[in-house]
């Protein structure tokens, strides 16, 4: 069944004439309807379609499917269909199709059976019985599957909190190769901006620039001589010197000498008004 018109008052449904069957008004519920009229809709809704209803009718009378008294079953089926109409239950087309099929079988039962090509007689009920049987298999299987132990009803998943990971979350791995490929790309792209000549100083100077810059501050002077480590040898001193020159050129560092031949100091050019080290990220 598909739908029930739910808003019909019970009183309206209980009118004396329930339905017209073959021109005769039906004023009583069919005898096999042992349920009260109020429950009729629910009862009919419980059918999963015409096959289900037919199976119910057959089962209720303990009829072997071989012996389906088509005339009688058809009569009963029609009564149900009329009752459905009577309570204005929206009739699914399938019920009417089945009614037509039953009527056809009924009429064919009255006629001599036609010969098939194989010369066998065909029982007009064959197709109906096949369908009934096929449907009932799955109806039963559905009941059995419904009875299977299942989650949420017969068993429940179990779980336990996972222990915390022993170490920190792993960082992505990067290979030097990836890094260089990225470099290649960025340089290739940069070439398209002709005003940027990406030229590189010896990296050791660049590295030293960072080191020096992070070692000095705006607050205090740092001795110029202290920026050099004699133990690094001549190369190291030269690199440091170049780094200092580059930093001065970029105005990242200033040299202070208070008197001639006095000690030279470096510091980050002070902008006293501005708060130091405001990061550009939050």
């Amino acid at each position: 069944m598909t739908q029930v018109v739910a808003d019909i008052p019970v009183a309206e449904r209980a009118l004396p004439t329930l339905a017209m069957v073959l021109g005769n008004p039906i004023t009583e519920m069919p005898k096999d309807l042992y349920i009260p009229p109020d429950a009729l809709e629910i009862f009919l809704e419980a059918f999963e379609g015409p096959l289900d209803l037919l199976l119910y009718l057959i089962r209720r009378q303990n009829i072997e499917i071989l012996d389906i008294p088509i005339a009688e079953i058809t009569r009963q089926y029609m009564v149900y269909v009329e009752v459905m109409k009577g309570v204005r239950l929206e009739l699914a087309a399938e019920y009417l199709v089945m009614a037509a099929m039953l009527a056809e079988i009924k009429s064919r039962m009255l006629l001599p059976r036609p010969k098939t090509e194989e010369g066998e007689e065909e029982d007009p009920r064959a197709e109906l019985i096949r369908r009934l049987q096929e449907y009932e298999r799955f109806k039963r299987a559905a009941e059995e599957v419904d009875a299977l132990p299942r989650m949420e009803r017969d068993t429940f998943p179990v779980g336990i909190e996972r222990p915390l990971r022993s170490g920190p979350r792993p960082h992505p791995a990067v290979s030097l190769e990836e890094l260089l490929l990225a470099f290649k790309d960025v340089l290739t792209r940069a070439e398209m901006f002709s005003n940027h000549h990406v030229q590189m100083e010896p990296l050791s100077v660049r590295e030293r620039m960072s080191d020096i810059l992070s070692a000095v501050s705006a607050e205090k002077f740092t001795a110029f001589a202290g920026l050099f480590k004699p133990e690094e040898g001549r190369m190291g001193v030269v690199v440091s010197f170049l780094a200092v020159l580059e930093l001065i050129k970029e105005s990242l560092l200033e040299l202070i000498q208070t008197e001639a031949y006095g000690p030279i100091y470096v510091r980050v050019p002070s902008h006293a008004d501005e708060p130091a080290a405001v990061e550009e990220y939050s």
Binding site: E48, R59, I65, E94, Y135, R140, A141, V145, R150, M151
Partner: protein
Amino acid sequence: MQMNPQQLKNILEATLLAAGQPMNMEKLQDVFPEESRPDPEILREALRILEEECAGRGIELKEVGSGFRLQVKQEYAPWVARLSEEKPPRYSRALLETLVLIAYRQPISRAEIEDIRGVSVSTHIIKTLQEREWVRVVGHREVPGRPALYGTTRDFLDYFNLKSLSQLPALSEIRSLETIAAEIDNLLPPPLAHAVDEDSEQAIVVPLVAADAELASDDAIDTAEPAAEEINGAEAVLNPAAPRIVH
């Protein structure tokens, strides 16, 4: 590091509980570092010990569609159910019949389901089955309109505690031709002719399906199984992530 079966069992127990979802053999192996990964047979033995141990416990080890799972024993479900305010969901007959037809007859189109049930299948039901991830579209029939063909998923098996489709209850018997012939002989007046449908396997004129499950012909299962394998394979490709357990 060499581990004894008892330790292995404990690791598997802790892993299955912490995983919160069925774990297949491959996933179980993955919790061991590569250099000390036990063979499946050794893990299987540890699982067997765990299963035995569960005999005296409130939980049991179960192998379902997507792997091994520890779950509450059915006999203790009534107490555990009280943990949740909600009642377990109930499924309508229409939904169950549709589901069962898909399970036994997959891949199957909606029209074919409607044909057997004799009634139209609401879009709502198909949608619910898909949302529960019990059913999915596995292909299309190459006829006009290219109707979708449905099949069941691993989640379906997991939910109903099945390891594979072959564990589904056998379909009721449809009697063989000889049985029918014999019965027809026994029947009183005129020898009823019986027709045979195109399948030639299914007798038409038979008593309503017999309840005897043991004699049941597996014809539906036979057709369902190859399809199921295909579907599992397809799923493995499509959905390498473990199916969720729906709580």
